[in-house]
Amino acid sequence: MAEIPTLPPKERLILELLVSSGALYGLELVDRSDGGLKRGTVYVTLGRMEAKGFLTSEQETLPEGAIGLPRRRYRPTGLGERALRAWGRFTQELRLEVQT
């Protein structure tokens, strides 16, 4: 039986931000999360989510003469979007079940 992927709150928040915005850098995710994500932990979470297949990332191409390291931009995968939708349905079902 295939392992069911988990979707903790922080990963859910990241997926929600990425699904609504398309592609974002790590610090942009932190800025848009209204305190939900911390810049000290977001990269580890992003790395874990990429390993789980929830998102993909690509390194930006720096223009000629630019300095600094190239940034990494993250976007959700199909699996990530499906996991987020499934989580939404699950919580909805759970709420209905508990309230009735």
Binding site: G26, L27, R39, Y43, G47, E50, G68, L69, R71
Partner: protein
């Protein structure tokens, strides 16, 4: 930004140091994105406060990447402790364990360390001269550190003798009030072993015949 600005761009030294500590996936997926975002923030005109917050965040990223294997990469400290290098993990954990129990069992710990090292050297020397096949479990090839008693040949050989001797001495040293019980089990066990040995010796022929006839 000028060449002077390039020299002042934060994170370059950190990236260089990190390249010695982390593997490629950890560097490219965790460390480098964090430093790159920080550099962009500073280039955009970050104040001292932004720099301080950035450095604090980078420190946290490095610590997490060192210890959190679920980050999907890196975590060299955790991997070392949990098993990519099992022998060194045990070598590291043993002194910690001894240091932890030393305040309560000082002389016993010292005796156990000395006796354990002497026994290890003795066993190694004996085994080098009398190599035997060692039972291998499925997990023996895994990198997880473990003390696997099933991999130690404790049959009717020198390994078994040392195992019994060490177990008995451990109980005698740790629980001296049980010396009578230990003595009784040694005498009883010895008598039982002698009885079994004598019985099997006298019934060896008939057992083989029974198996062949069966």
């Amino acid at each position: 930004m000028t060449a002077n600005g390039r020299a002042r761009l934060p994170g370059r030294l950190l990236m260089r140091v990190a390249s010695f500590c982390f593997d490629e996936p950890a560097l490219t997926k965790i460390i480098q994105p964090a430093i790159a975002d920080f550099q962009r923030e500073v280039l955009a005109g970050g104040s001292i406060g932004v720099r301080l917050r950035g450095y604090a965040a980078l420190a946290k990223v490095l610590v997490l990447a060192l210890f959190v294997p679920s980050a999907g990469a890196g975590a060299p400290f955790t991997w070392t402790l949990l098993g990519l290098n099992g022998a060194s993990s045990l070598a590291l954990l043993s002194p910690i364990l001894f240091a932890g129990v030393c305040p309560m069992f000082g002389p016993f710990v010292a005796g156990a360390v000395v006796a354990g090292m002497a026994l290890a050297v003795g066993l190694h020397a004996w085994n080098s001269r009398h190599p035997t096949a060692v039972a291998c479990t499925r997990r023996i090839y895994s990198k997880d550190p473990e003390i696997n008693i099933s991999s130690v040949p404790v049959g009717g050989n020198i390994g078994g003798f040392f195992f019994v001797l060490a177990s008995s001495l451990t109980i005698l040293l740790g629980l001296p009030e049980l010396r009578g019980f230990v003595l009784g089990t040694v005498v009883g066990g010895g008598a039982l072993a002698w009885g079994l040995f004598a019985w099997r010796r006298s019934h060896r022929q008939s057992s083989v015949t029974a198996v062949v006839l069966h």
